[in-house]
Each structure stands twice: as C-alpha cells, then as structure tokens.
Amino acid sequence: MKRFIALILAMFIMSVAGTAFAAPEIMSVNDMGNATDLIILNNNTGEEITVFEKNYVISGSGQEGVTVTLYLYNSTDNVYKKLYIVTKDGEKKLMEWKIGPSGLFLGEVQLAEGNNWFALRAEDGASNYQVEKINVTFKKGFIAFIKDLSIGFSEIKDFMNSFKK
C-alpha cells in the first residue's frame, strides 16, 4: 500500500514538474528569465525595429534540446500570450521550435500594422529559461498604400458591375 501511494505521489510530482517547466500560455511583461546563455537571437533586441514589409523573420541559434516559444504582447491584458498562427488547413499552430543538432531555429510571422512586441522564451527542460524581446513596428510604404487603394477601387468597381449583370 505504501509503495502504491509513493508511486502515485511520484507520478503526481513528475507531472507537476513537467507542466511547471513547460512554457506557460501567458507570460508577465516583467519576466526576465533566469538564464542568458541558452540562445542567441539574430534579430535586434532592446531597440525598436521599423520595417515596411508585413512578413518578418525571427531567427537564432541555441543549445540542442532547448525549446523556444514565441509570444506576442497583448495590450488589453498587459501580458505576453503564446502566438498561434492559422495554417492553410485552418488549424492553429503554435510558433515554437525545438532546437536540433544544427543549432538553428527560424520562422516567419505576419505583422500587424503598427507595433508588434514579441517575446521569446527559451527553456532547457531543467529549470532554466531565457527571455528575449523584439519590438517591431510595421509601416506600410507609400507605394503599398497606393496599390491597396487601387485594389480597393477595383474591388468596388467589380462589386458595382455585379449589380449591372
């Protein structure tokens, strides 16, 4: 009986430990991590980056076995939330990488116009985790603006023509 209880207790502790060190759904803006040497980001951190293209590549390198999770700042709740992208099949896919033997990770995200504040949480499966932040501002270029306007006008024109038919 004692052994049975000990086994149940051990399983409970293992599951809690496991979940405690999996990346949480939400991360505080003040969370700075407790490690600094798990990953090296290629993107500039600590300064505002301004871009004119909506597709942005996040990349870096790190120790094999480290899991890197991408978060996006939510201004309403003032927290970082895990970032999910919607695939072609309509499924939600978490932006997360497990670093393999190459030591590399990279992925592309689509930016919203204006500020996009990202955080990356890298965990090594023990109790160590590193947090890096990237702040990207997406500004639509003038040419892209005019093109969108012209596409908008042609869509209105097609809509009006559909009534004529």
Partner: protein
C-alpha cells in the same frame, strides 16, 4: 525570225529552270528510295549542297532558339526586403527573362557607351537588396562564350571579366537614366558595375506590376542571417543561398522511356540520317541494339541511353547546312547550338523541356564545341544518374553534343519524357532541413572516421532525381556543402 528566236529562248529557259527546280526538290527532300543506291553517296557531295544554297532555305519545322534557351532557368525579382523566384515555363518568367535578356544583350554588344566601375566584394549583399532582377548561371560562362551565344564574336566585356556567373540588373539606380548591371567577379574578388543608357520603361513597369508573390517568397541567407557562425551553430548557410519562406508547390512526375517500339527506333534512325535497310544491326546480351555504318555507329540501350559516334575523321552528321569541310569558314557557336537544339527536338519532340547547362569550346580547334543539356520538369531541374544513385556516383548530363564545324561527331542522350502525375505541397520548415543536413553529414563523416565540424551549406534547391529506375519521381531537396562538388539529397516533407 526574231519571234522564233524569242520563242526558242523562252522554251529553253523553261526547260532548264524546271530541271533545276526538280533537282533542287529531289536533293533537298531526298526523294530517292531507302535502299542503298547511287544517290545515297551523293547526299553529302558538295554539289548536292551547293545547289540548294541558291534558294532561300525553308525552315524544316525548326523551333526558334531564342535567348530564353540559354538564359538561366530561374530568375529572381528583388523587391527590397523580399524576393520571388520565377522558373522556366511560367508566364512571368517569360516576360521577365525576355526583357532582361534584351538589356543583357545591349550590354554585351556595347553599342552604347558602357561606364565601368569596380566595387569591393562586400558590396554584393547591398546590391542584392536593391529593387532588381537577379539571375545566376549554374555554371559560370566564359564571357567570350556568353557573348557568342548572343551572336557577338568578341564582346568588350571579356576585357573586364573572364567568367560570368551571377548578375544583378537594377533598372533604376536613382541617380541617372541609366540601367546598371552588377556582375560578381569571383576571380578578382570584386563586383563590376556597368552603367549604360537604355530604354528601361518595360523593365521598370514589369518590376512594379508584379508584387512579391505571397506563396513564393525567399530570403537570402545573409538577410536572416544564417551565414554567421557562433558558439551554438553547427550549420551555416552561404550568404547567397536563397531560403524559401513559404511552402512550394511541385509535382510528382513519371519518368517514361519513349522508346516503346520498332517505330520509335526508326524515328531515331531517321533523325541520324540512317536508312533502316542499309545498316548493319547487332544486338548484345543486355539487349543493346547497335547500328553500324561505314562512317558512324549508333547504340540504343534498353534503359533509354543512345550513343552516337562518328568513327572516321572528318565524317559525321551535318547539322548546320551550307558549310562544307574545307570551305575555310568556321561555324559559329550560336549556329552550332541552334542546330544542336533543333536536332534534340527532332528526337524527343517539343513537349519535353530541357536547358543548356554548360558550353565548352576547344581553344585549339575553331568551331569545335561541346554542349551539355539537362531536363526540366515544371521548371525544376532533373538530375540524371547512370547506375545506382546512393553510391559515390555523380550526376551526368542528360544530353551531350559534340560538334565540329557544324558536324555532329559524338552524341549522348538519355531519352526521357517526364509526365506530371499529382501535385504536392512541400513544407519548408528550414530547421528540419538543416537538422537533417547535419545528421546526414554526420553519418557520412562517421563512416569515414572524420570528426564533425561546422557544416557550411553552399547551395540548396528543389529538384528531381532520375536514377534510371522506372516509376515515379518525387521532389527532393538537393544541397552541396563546402569543399565538395557532390550533390546530396533529402526527401521533402509534404504539408
């Protein structure tokens, strides 16, 4: 009396002209029987070629070989932060390559003043970020040969650069009305900048009209960056390698040997100018059929390889009409290549796409060229292996043509038609690909008892591999690593 004379003269001229015309049609269309006879000997006799040359030559179902053919099979349009690749066969490719090729021809001809400036090699990455067209020849062309492909015997460019591999064309340099070519000069470790006056309206319109295609965006390795090693990286990627950012659509293709019957063999024999009834025929143990004539022989292997060799000096199949040996003139590279392409189309038809992968000219023998071609399927290259792939074998060129002064001396051809079967959406999770490259390389190096260092990927692209086995060909990732010319492959993952 005068009337009679005139009538006689008219009659005589009519008779003579009808004899000449009859002889012309007879010689040109080879309207003699297939059996070995007196007239076969006269086929290559100079007079039977001299008479047709009086008359304008009618094209015999010839396919025009234009600049598309020796233009690289993909062109990259740079929009600043991102770029799109277009491959041969796509409408956009045709539009871009046509205009860019025209501009390149203007540079090669040098009829307008060309201003040259040399820049440090480090500038190349800045150049790639400009709004521009970028293309690279898989194997760099000798500048002289590239010039001859455009019909220019001694291009002035040869004075600046020996080999041309990578080229960037910037239609608007923001300073003047010139267009600017940047050509990487690896031999001297510089970038050559060539400015010339050119009507660039079409180029500018094209680049503005086509925005980056969402499903075909690429980044250069240096932009990510993947080319800078640090304490964690075990794989780096050469700066100029293009990394796909979106899934790629390709096809599963079926590799078909078009030789299915005696009829197909007859067609091949006719292409080589053989008369089926006059050849000596042998069949070997492996079912290779060999045809021998006095001056040449032809082998047709059951796996689709055909081999032709002219066995006597000065003999062979004349592909460029109007030039006879001893006439003193040499056949140009351009004419030789066009004749080679027409000949190949005569054997495999016009449905199967192929491209020129390299050209070699014998510097000691004017008019002597070797052309190497390979197949394309859906715009993607097909790598051909003769024998089992997976050993240390390297791919071979699917078609090899040796010509001397317009005469075919040697011909090797892997006969294939690639038929699309089904489409496949390819996942481009690059971390998986780089991890696989590392594992793949580690396995090989461990087999050779080498220690594993950081691996530098020098090239990465999608292609097909045909190792001669029947069946379906699936797309593969092909890659090369530093210090090795060998091409390695990884299976793709479908979405």
């Amino acid at each position: 009396m005068n009337k009679e004379k005139t009538k006689t003269l008219l009659l005589l001229s009519l008779i003579i002209s009808s004899i000449i015309l009859t002889f012309y049609i007879w010689a040109n269309e080879e309207l003699w029987s297939d059996d070995y006879n007196f007239f076969v000997k006269w086929k290559n006799f100079s007079i039977s070629q001299w008479v047709p040359s009086w008359f304008p030559q009618q094209p015999r179902n010839s396919l025009q070989v234009d600049y598309h053919f020796y233009f690289p099979q993909k062109i990259i349009v740079n929009y600043g932060d991102s770029r799109t690749i277009y491959v041969k066969g796509e409408t956009e490719y045709e539009k871009f390559s046509k205009e860019v090729s025209r501009a390149l021809e203007a540079l090669i001809r040098g009829e307008q003043e060309v201003r040259y400036q040399s820049l440090p090699l480090e500038e190349w990455q800045n150049v790639l970020k400009k709004k521009s067209f970028y293309f690279d020849y898989d194997v760099a062309y000798a500048t002289k040969i590239l010039g001859e492909l455009y019909g220019v015997r001694d291009t002035h460019l040869s004075g600046y650069i020996k080999n041309i591999g990578e080229v960037v064309l910037v239609p608007e340099d923001g300073v003047s009305n010139d267009i600017v070519f940047y050509i990487k000069n690896d031999d001297e470790g510089i970038v050559g900048k060539y400015s010339l006056r050119y009507d660039r309206e079409n180029l500018v319109q094209l680049i503005d009209r086509f925005r980056p295609a969402d499903n075909r965006r690429y980044r250069f390795s240096f932009e990510i960056p993947l080319d800078k090693p640090n304490k964690y990286t075990r794989v780096t990627v050469d700066s100029n390698v293009l990394i796909p950012m979106q899934s790629q659509k390709m096809y599963v293709v079926r590799s078909i040997n078009p030789i299915q019957s005696e009829y197909d063999i007859r067609n091949i024999l006719e292409s080589f100018g053989y008369s089926h009834n006059t050849l000596r025929k042998y069949t070997s143990m492996d079912n290779t059929i060999e045809y021998a004539e006095n001056d040449s022989n032809l082998k047709i292997h059951p796996d689709g390889w055909i081999e032709y060799d002219a066995v006597k000096e000065g003999k062979g199949l004349r592909l460029v009409p109007g030039h006879s040996s001893g006439s003193g003139g040499t056949v140009s590279l351009r004419d030789s290549m066009e004749a080679a392409v027409e000949f190949i189309h005569g054997i495999i038809g016009s449905e199967q796409d192929f491209y020129i992968s390299s050209v070699n000219a014998d510097p000691n023998k004017l008019g002597s060229y070797r052309f190497n071609f390979n197949y394309l399927s859906g715009g993607y290259p097909v790598e051909v292996y003769r024998g089992q792939q997976g050993s240390d074998e390297s791919p071979v060129d699917a078609i090899q043509v040796d010509m001397v002064n317009g005469i075919l001396k040697r011909y090797r051809h892997y006969l294939r038609i690639y038929d699309t079967v089904d489409s496949v959406d390819i996942d481009v999770s690059m971390t998986y690909i780089f991890d696989s490259i590392y594992n793949h390389t580690a396995e090989r190096q461990q087999d050779n008892t080498k220690s594993i260092n950081t691996i530098k990927v020098m090239d990465l692209y999608l292609n097909y591999v045909d190792d001669g086995n029947k069946g379906l060909l699936y797309p593969k990732w092909a890659y090369k690593v530093e210090d090795s010319e060998k091409v390695y492959h990884l299976p793709v993952i479908e979405n």
